[in-house]
Amino acid sequence: MRNLLIFITKYNAFFLFLIFEVSALLIYIKYNSFQKATFISSQNQVTGSLFGQVSEFKGYLSLKDVNDSLARENARLRGMLKTSFYIDTTEKHKVVDTVYKQQYTYLVARVINNSTNQSNNYITINKGSRDGIAKDMGVICGAGVVGMIAAVSDHYAIVKSLLHSKSQFSAMLVNDKSVGSFIWGNDLNPHKGLLSLQNDAKPVLGEMVVTSGYSLFPTGIPFGKVTNLHAKEGGLLLNVEVGLSVDFSKLQYIYVVVNKYAQEQAGLEALEVK
């Protein structure tokens, strides 16, 4: 017994190393699924409020860019207004339209923490469950798709960015209408994504890739433009390289997409599986 104690004290560094290393790896493996990690992450009170203050300061530095992007978005939306179309008829009558019901609403939130250079990137935003944000909602910005909500606390939420090795979204080519799945490429490039299509699809260089409307997002929100037709050879599927339209390093404001019929759709699709 005494010899054992002497042995342990003599090589105490190694035994301490074992203890701490195993506990660190346990934390890493246990919380690797991320959603469970609420305590040691950027949405807890201390880190969340620190990030909030720093982003408040940084917000001033990029006011001009934000203004520009808002103005651009306003112009685009103004173009979609009824008043900006030339009415090709002389008759005027009011129609009470009951065909359209609001399906998607948008919550605006500010980005308070963001990364683009990890192999799994997350974005922290300053709205949480109290503002009506829930897990698995889609997130977009003026320029295109950003990601989906991975975890929420009362005042903050974490977005699993499009730049995440496990992010996958349903996307389609805007002219061809063929649907595929959109993932981030393997080379950690924050400006490139990969779209996997069936082999009979006919993508064209420069064609827009947009959301398909099958999940989280309304149809037609851009991912980016096709930049390379044969990004990865040899697979079963046609892999197309897409230049992302969102500059993730400059994200300031994002919109969380609230789909009013999401639960209904999910419930129905769960039935289908059985």
Binding site: A13, F20, E21, F34, N120, I158
Partner: protein, 172 residues
């Protein structure tokens, strides 16, 4: 003694703050990312007991993890770093010399020793951190180039900080 503790607490806060809000946003072509916060473990005094050294490394790792949203990853890498530090100091420094050489800084230990110390420790930490993060053998080439380039960046920052706080009087 009291002064050492205060200096180290300030150093801890400053380095974590710098890592979380400044260096996290810096990267060259997604290959070279500095993890400068390990300077805290590098500069702990020689007399730090092993238990304390491991506890501090673990805490430092967890704090950085909280800002990086990767619970356990940096903690594991920092614990490896602490072990490498103990081994390296055991091999290269005589135990009797501790009284007049309290901290392994650039100004006290000289350039050659400190440079080797920083390079070996940084490389061990980065290698463990980045390979654990990717966790794939198929991308080993890419990971290795990230490790080497990031190590160069971190060592550069460590040397610059060493020169910045260089105290001529302490040099033998």
């Amino acid at each position: 003694m009291g002064r050492t503790i205060i200096v180290n607490i300030i150093r801890f806060l400053l380095l974590v703050f710098m890592q979380a809000f400044l260096l996290k946003n810096i990267t060259f072509y997604n290959l070279s990312t500095p993890y400068f916060y390990i300077l805290f473990i590098l500069l702990l005094p020689f007399e730090t007991p092993n238990v304390l050294l491991f506890i501090l490394s673990f805490l430092l790792g967890l704090t950085v993890d909280a800002f990086y949203d990767t619970p356990g990853l940096h903690a594991a890498a920092c614990v490896v770093l602490a072990l490498v530090r103990i081994l390296f100091i055991n091999i290269t420094v005589q135990k009797e010399g501790f009284d007049n050489e309290p901290e392994p800084t650039l100004s006290i230990m000289g350039f050659r020793w400190f440079f080797t110390y920083a390079v070996i420790l940084t490389f061990a930490h980065h290698f463990f951190l980045l390979s654990l993060e990717v966790f794939k053998f198929s991308e080993i080439q890419y990971t290795l180039s990230r490790v080497v380039l990031s190590s160069i960046f971190t060592v550069f920052l460590i040397l610059v900080s060493g020169l910045l706080f260089f105290k001529r009087k302490e040099r033998k």
